[in-house]
């Protein structure tokens, strides 16, 4: 029951964060006025700022945060490694390569971007299993292969960008991981996919838990370990891929959020997964709001903010993992 309470509190925190994020920005709009809008009153310009600019952005940040945190939590189970974050192990780079290929080479097919981002993410996941899998993935192997895969796919992305440098302007912000200037259209592009992905993740709770045991005991508990591992990895790559397709590479959400959630609520996916979902939304929303207001009127890419927060956290986890 204590755990249900924690989830309830996290939902409250999320709601508060949403109001905070909607009210803060280049123009601060007081909460009272926001409540007025709910009843169809108030200033027209401010209303437009909120509904046309801030709200879609807030929702995208929350959705992407959820997706990335859940992707991280799932990948951590199948790889038996708490460092498995879509950014670190190269899934996001793969997705980014897939997305950029479409955006720069055949821009008339923009609607294919999420699909190719997903395929790119799957490709990277596949690579990491080939390079690092040895009865689970040891921290050092996952890092090294992640570095290699990120370098490889990042290189390919640069190559495509350079060859199409006339078109690169429009997507420069995207490359760094940014939710700036996203509209309702962008939200619509990933909303359905995200909801499907997040709902599917709830079906992975039991198997994710069992995969934390040895593979042999998992088999003896009736799990088809290989098939399950492939399916859950695909789901992780899907969630990370569609997110990358809309906001570019944002690292560390999938590392930091599941880790803190684990400390707060334990490693049982029945609670860990929902908490990561809500926590991811809150975390990325906070980071994005911070990115908007910290250097007003300049907006920082939220990917950079996450890297600044997540980097030291990652090093800390790495050290802790080595000591054990």
């Amino acid at each position: 029951m204590k755990k249900a309470l924690i989830i309830l509190i996290s939902i409250l925190l999320f709601i508060i964060t949403v109001f905070f994020a909607v009210s803060m920005g280049s123009v601060n709009i007081p909460l009272k006025e926001i409540f007025n809008f709910l009843f169809d009153k108030g200033d027209v310009i401010n209303k437009s700022i909120i509904f046309d600019i801030r709200l879609p952005r807030v929702l995208i940040a929350a959705l992407v945060g959820s997706n990335l945190a859940v992707a991280g939590a799932l990948l951590q189970s199948v790889m038996k490694n708490p460092l498995a974050d879509p950014g670190i192990i190269g899934v996001s780079s793969g997705a980014s390569l897939g997305a950029i290929t479409i955006m720069l080479i055949i821009p008339q097919y923009t609607y294919l971007v999420p699909l190719f981002a997903f395929l790119g993410g799957v490709f990277a996941t596949f690579l990491i299993f080939i390079l690092a899998w040895k009865d689970g993935i040891k921290p050092i192997r996952i890092i090294l292969s992640g570095v290699a895969i990120n370098a490889m796919l990042g290189g390919a992305t640069s190559l495509i960008s350079v060859l199409n440098s006339d078109r690169i302007q429009g997507i420069l912000m995207w490359v760094n991981g940014s939710i700036s200037g996203r509209s309702w259209n962008d939200l619509n592009m990933i909303l359905v996919y995200s909801i499907i992905g997040l709902i599917l993740s709830f079906f992975c709770i039991r198997t994710s838990n069992i995969l934390l045991l040895s593979d042999e005991k998992a088999v003896n508990l009736g799990i088809n370990v290989n098939r399950t591992r492939v399916l859950i990895s695909l789901l992780g790559a899907f969630l990370a891929g569609i997110s990358t397709s809309i906001v570019g590479i944002i690292g560390f959400v999938g590392l930091v959020v599941p880790h803190i959630s684990r400390l707060v609520i334990g490693s049982d996916y029945k609670y860990l997964l929902p908490l990561s979902m809500i926590g991811g939304a809150t975390m990325l929303l906070l980071a994005d709001t911070f990115a908007r207001i910290v250097a007003k009127p300049i907006e920082l890419p939220v990917g950079t903010i996450m890297a600044v927060i997540g980097g030291p956290f990652f090093l800390y986890l790495l050290r802790k993992g080595e000591k054990r």
Partner: protein, 266 residues
């Protein structure tokens, strides 16, 4: 009726073959010990009975079914295994872990019900974990953890129970208790037991059949009273020993007294 039938089985890892041409039948309700030196292939044989290792050649039958054609789920409802090495999330409670033993019997949408609770209570009582059931597994001693894993295997309510060195980590009191519990289950519910033991005297006392392995081959197979003797111990372990017979049930008691290799070196 045979619980397990193994014919011409070859097992190994990658290209390496560890077990060659292994053929045995195990009757329902037998309590079998597999003994042999380190690396002789005991765990390997046990794994093949739980479908953790596909045969390179030959067939394993569980009841009438070829194990290769059974799904993991089917196998896990009739065979459960206590492994030599285990991994687990640090913060799971003993009781929650034992509940995982119920999962083979559940469809994906079914959750814990009254019957599960009853079975888990029974398992916890019989593995003496009542005091410890809500503790995190990380906070338990090696022996206590071993009992939890036995609990997981028992919660599966198997027809065939496989135990890989179940008494490691346990003090002698719990060693006896575990073996007595397994023997009781074996007698009461006709559960077939196949276990790997290192203690020859326990194998001798608690099983009605001993299979002796050396370098992947069966060296002896039968009633411990008939097959356990000085020559066998010398041949398999290269150890000289004395043998006495228990006053009550007549099982052989082996007292090793000289390692031949060590002797030569001096």
């Amino acid at each position: 009726m045979n619980a397990v039938k193994i014919s011409n089985l070859c097992l190994g890892y990658g290209k390496k073959t560890v077990i060659k041409d292994f053929t045995i039948d195990i009757e329902k309700g037998q309590m079998v010990s597999i003994i042999g030196p380190n690396g002789s292939g005991k765990s390997t044989v046990l794994k093949s009975l739980a479908k953790l290792l596909e045969p390179q050649e030959g067939i394993v039958y569980i009841g009438k079914n070829n194990i290769t054609h059974m799904s993991n789920k089917e196998v896990s409802t009739s065979v459960s295994i206590l492994l030599q090495h285990n991994t687990y999330p640090a913060d799971i409670s003993a009781r929650d872990l034992i509940y995982y033993g119920r999962l083979p019997h559940k469809k994906w949408y079914q959750t814990k019900d009254q019957e599960d609770e009853k079975i888990i209570d029974w398992v916890i009582k019989n593995t003496n974990l009542e005091e410890l059931q809500y503790k995190k597994i990380n906070c338990l001693s090696g022996g206590e953890r071993q009992r939890v894993w036995l609990g997981v295997a028992l919660a599966q309510q198997p027809k065939i129970l496989l135990l890989d060195e179940p008494t490691t980590y346990l003090d002698i009191s719990y060693q006896l208790e575990l073996l007595e519990l397994v023997k009781m289950l074996n007698q009461r519910s006709d559960m077939t037991v196949v276990m790997v033991l290192h203690d020859l005297n326990q194998a001798s006392k608690y099983s009605n059949r001993v299979i002796v392995l050396k370098e992947g081959q069966i060296v002896a197979d039968g009633d411990p009273k008939e097959i356990l003797n000085k020559e066998l111990i010398r041949k398999v372990y290269n150890v000289e020993s004395r043998i006495y017979y228990d006053e009550v049930d007549g099982h052989p008691i082996i007292i090793p007294n000289k390692n031949n290799l060590g002797g030569e070196r001096i």
